[in-house]
Symmetry: C2
Subunit: 177 residues, 2 copies
């Protein structure tokens, strides 16, 4: 399954860290790339690029200010569109439906999501019916799509990073080189 992320309405400096966490989770939990709309933020793509050099993988972050035409373009490329929102259908109900898809664009909203996003999406999905965090909603959704396998995943050896962690009961074990 090919999964891409679209983060809506990035604002500087307010969303700097939250959007970075969204991108880091997307990468660590198996998505291929992230696009974002809102304000342009070179630091966001640069920090994910730097992280890839150290930790491996080929995750890319791109600025896509025109989210509506971007979503439509993805639909034409055969992507199903799933929008994470507190107001959608419960994740356990949605998972069997979206798991069948070959290509998925997962939309992660910002503070105010325009109504057209709900209508352009094939699925509006809620992760709990309580307000919490787009970072957590994305992590739980990717976890369900990956059947928890991301917890033991290694990055593709062709694009491996310089650093990896050796699990340890106490303290830190970092392997470089």
């Amino acid at each position: 399954m090919e999964i891409e992320i679209l983060r809506l309405g990035h604002r500087l400096p307010r969303d700097e860290r939250i959007s970075t966490h969204v991108a880091l989770v997307a990468r660590a939990f198996g998505a291929n790339s992230m696009a974002y709309s809102g304000q342009h933020d070179e630091g966001l793509s640069r920090s994910l690029e730097r992280l890839g050099t150290s930790w491996g993988g080929q995750f890319k972050v791109e600025y896509m200010p025109k989210y509506k035409s971007y979503i439509k373009e993805k639909k034409e490329q055969g992507f199903s569109i799933a929008h994470l929102s507190m107001y959608g259908i419960p994740l356990p109900e949605a998972v069997p439906k979206i798991k069948k898809k070959q290509k998925l664009l997962l939309i992660v909203g910002g503070e105010h999501v325009p109504p057209d996003v709900y209508h352009l999406s094939d699925f509006n999905i809620s992760v709990t019916n309580q307000p919490h965090s787009e970072v957590a909603a994305l992590a739980i959704t990717l976890d369900r799509l990956m059947d928890g396998k991301e917890l033991e995943r290694s990055f593709d050896k062709r694009f491996k990073g310089k650093i990896r962690i050796e699990p340890s009961e106490k303290g830190k074990e970092i392997i470089e080189g």
Copy 2:
């Protein structure tokens, strides 16, 4: 199972939103309360209090500047201590062990976690071996401890909020009163 959260090293304004997301996830995914060390931030407890009034539950946020004595106190009260860290043992390995516990203090680190936290903890647990987000790590850990039941959870009726969401395929359905 009784779960409490300790968020370490809160810094203002840098961690304002991330710590809020940590608290919101703790609440929505079934923890009882959160304590935090670092800088005092009245806004953090106030915003969770306001949220509880609207959305229900009895989740509390408290400032605990002396994290070390707080952890020791919790140990004396019979809590097991689990610290979420990129460097620990994989979550799937840890879950069967911590699930048996009656009381659990889950520690969520900040930028630089002092070495004593690793040693005071009964379990150092990693959620993937990649850098990502303490918000996601907490969500996935609580999800595993709750067997995914938090996704369909309602808040205790005695402490119910004024607002709830009716799941909807397109758009928003909010029920007040």
